[in-house]
Symmetry: C2
Subunit: 405 residues, 2 copies
């Protein structure tokens, strides 16, 4: 009898959690498990804002997939998925293809620019380790270049962050700590530097408790961040951004660095493969399978689950992605063993903490609001927990955050 | 009676040595001494290739002028010299002017591009701390960007060094050590990287012993450096360089980074001030004064002294500049004290060592040829000696090189 073959696309939080749980729950003879990922490493998406700002070494943000995956139980293919041929049960890769009986799509997010002109070409986005390193080096290069020019271009020292959501605010927190270091290293006057946060919505961190939002805004403002709330970005050029000003007018803000942190969407491979989705997100069945595709599970940023309490989708977080990975592994094990009943997924949100740099944060954990060092400590525990859940205690020792006050 | 006023332009090897010697030899009541420098710091010009390659932290390459200059004896003006009005005995600065009775011009070198098209606009030069930091960051940015692009541009990983003289070779030595680190940090295949040295002359390091030159070339080639000797650069574009190929043809070499290390000249302020010079260098009298200007001493890169033995100018080195500073301080002291006889300057070349990175070098010291670790050790001793001569033992402790094998 042929063993069923499970193919997992993506080694982010959801895909890698599914993989490590499957290698525990399934015997070698029960199924073939294949993990496909573009890179040989997993990276902590929730730490990318630190690598982007330059406050954490990029190498601290990743670990080798081989360090958590059991070679005897899982085949790893380093390649990039291009298209899922659902009828043929085959995934086309850049350098080949792989067939499946069960497929797990955990391909993560892409930047969504909502058709705003020039953003794709001229703005950076904190999407992966490559882009994070590029952002860090781009900013450093601007500071390094400033003093080499006879005629000083102050816009080299201007950084626009588009979006005051989670990523935007966490990145601003790191940047606020990094800028004084850069000023010192490159002999730049701190007062020449401008860090601006431009957000179309009427508030920072929509959905967060207003008291915590106020704390975050005044903390960042004290460190020099300017907030332009209720201001829509209309376009991006090599020189900066164009924003709406009043009803019909626009204004140019010059900035050598523009980071777009205002929108993500699921993987475009999903639509390209004919699976029904909204902005790359599939509204999955309770067992995490795609409607009309009993052999395909969708996890993480590509997965849409409605929070019935507020009738809005759950945010695509690492915490939920890992929980989905656990349930997905259980359901796959059940299917392989021909068990009838699959588990329905319910998120268990333990807390949400938004960091404001190394030593400050705001958040809610175990039902309590917190700010400052306590929240910052909680954030680091959450970061370490993600390492622990996938890589066990040794990964926490290797990559964990212990700079705890 | 009015005290005579000595103004020293430039806090490089020559100017700073003059200053620290004058503050020892002259009493407070004998003269006013004023040091003018663009930056508040002195940097080790002979270490800039390390900061440029990224193998030495830029901060290690400089120290505050205030840490070696006695405020009670020397006034320091942080400003940039624009023109010397010799008839009025005044130096025009960007933000003011300063009059003198005696002037020491130690303004250092500028990059000389010999009119080659595009070099000034598109090539970097290892001229000062600002440009060194910019080169380091430019190269890092190219590596960081490589993996972010769908279509890989291998020219991002190509670095052209124009010139196989001292600076070019020392920079290549550092680069050869740095490239494998960059490859690791940015997940770049080492074999995609090209480091090329393009030199119009028929040999590397003209004037050096051929045996030592062979050692250097094969050492660098082993580390992946390609030499294109006898190849003239005809132009530089945003995409790379144009080189002569045969009699009438040209060839394009694509490279995102072009470092021009093939020519320096003295300060252009000298010609702008009507002092007779060739490429910014003044053929000084034996006492280091400019012909027809009894009140002006010229030191360092702006000073031209012929080596009678070979009828060619001495190379503008830190070693000679510091020796000039010592003689200049003696001669100024003599002039202030109305002594008749000034000392004639004779360089005392103790050795010349060209480093090939952290742990290798070639050179001649105390009349002996040396290569490898011995030469590398000697180079570090020379570097430490420069710190010692100006800043004393405490400066050696603070900034010295002790990574000795």
């Amino acid at each position: 009898m042929r063993k069923p073959k499970i193919v997992i696309l993506g080694a982010g939080y959801g895909g890698l959690m599914t993989t490590v749980r499957l290698q525990k729950s399934l015997g070698v003879n029960e199924a073939d498990v294949v993990l496909v990922n573009k890179n040989g490493y997993h990276y902590e998406t929730t730490w990318l804002h630190e690598a982007s700002a330059g406050t954490l070494q990029p190498d601290r943000v990743r670990y080798e997939i081989s360090s958590v995956v059991d070679k005897n139980k899982v085949d790893f293919i380093q390649d990039t998925a291009v298209e899922i041929k659902t009828a043929e049960k085959v995934v086309k890769l850049e350098n080949g293809e792989v067939s499946y009986d069960y497929l797990v799509v955990a391909l993560g997010a892409e930047s969504e620019t909502f058709g705003i002109q020039g953003l794709k070409e001229h703005a950076f986005s904190i999407s992966n380790l490559n882009s994070a390193r590029q952002i860090r080096e781009h900013i450093e290069y601007q500071f390094a270049t400033y003093n080499t020019e006879e005629e000083k271009k102050d816009e080299r020292l201007s950084i626009v962050v588009g979006g005051a959501g989670f990523t935007g605010i966490e990145f601003l927190g790191e940047l606020a700590n990094r800028i004084p270091e850069l000023c010192k290293e490159y002999d730049v006057d701190f007062h020449k530097v401008r860090v601006m946060c431009v957000e179309a919505a009427p508030t920072v961190l929509p959905g967060f408790d207003p008291e915590l939002v106020n704390y975050a805004v005044s903390y960042l403002e004290k460190k020099g961040v300017e907030f332009k709330i209720g201001t829509a970005i209309k376009g991006c050029t090599p020189e900066g951004i164009i924003v709406a000003k009043g009803e019909n007018e626009v204004e140019e803000i010059k900035a050598a660095t523009v980071i777009w942190a205002a929108g993500v969407r699921g993987s475009s491979i999903i639509e390209a493969s004919g699976i029904e989705a909204m902005r790359g997100r599939v509204k999955v069945n309770p067992d995490l399978r795609a409607p009309d595709h009993d052999d395909i599970f969708i996890l993480g940023d590509c997965c849409l689950i409605i929070n019935e309490e507020i009738n809005r989708p759950y945010p695509p977080t690492a915490q939920i992605a890992m929980q989905e990975g656990e349930v997905c592994a259980k359901n796959l094990t059940a299917l392989i063993r021909n068990e009838e009943k699959l588990e329905a997924f319910t998120p268990d949100i333990k807390g949400t903490v938004c960091s404001l740099g190394e030593d400050d944060a705001i958040g809610v954990a175990f039902g309590r609001k917190m700010v400052g060092k306590k929240a910052s400590f909680m954030k680091k525990m959450i970061d370490n927990r993600a390492l622990y859940m996938i890589g066990g205690p040794s990964m926490v020792v290797k990559k964990g955050k212990f700079n705890i006050l």
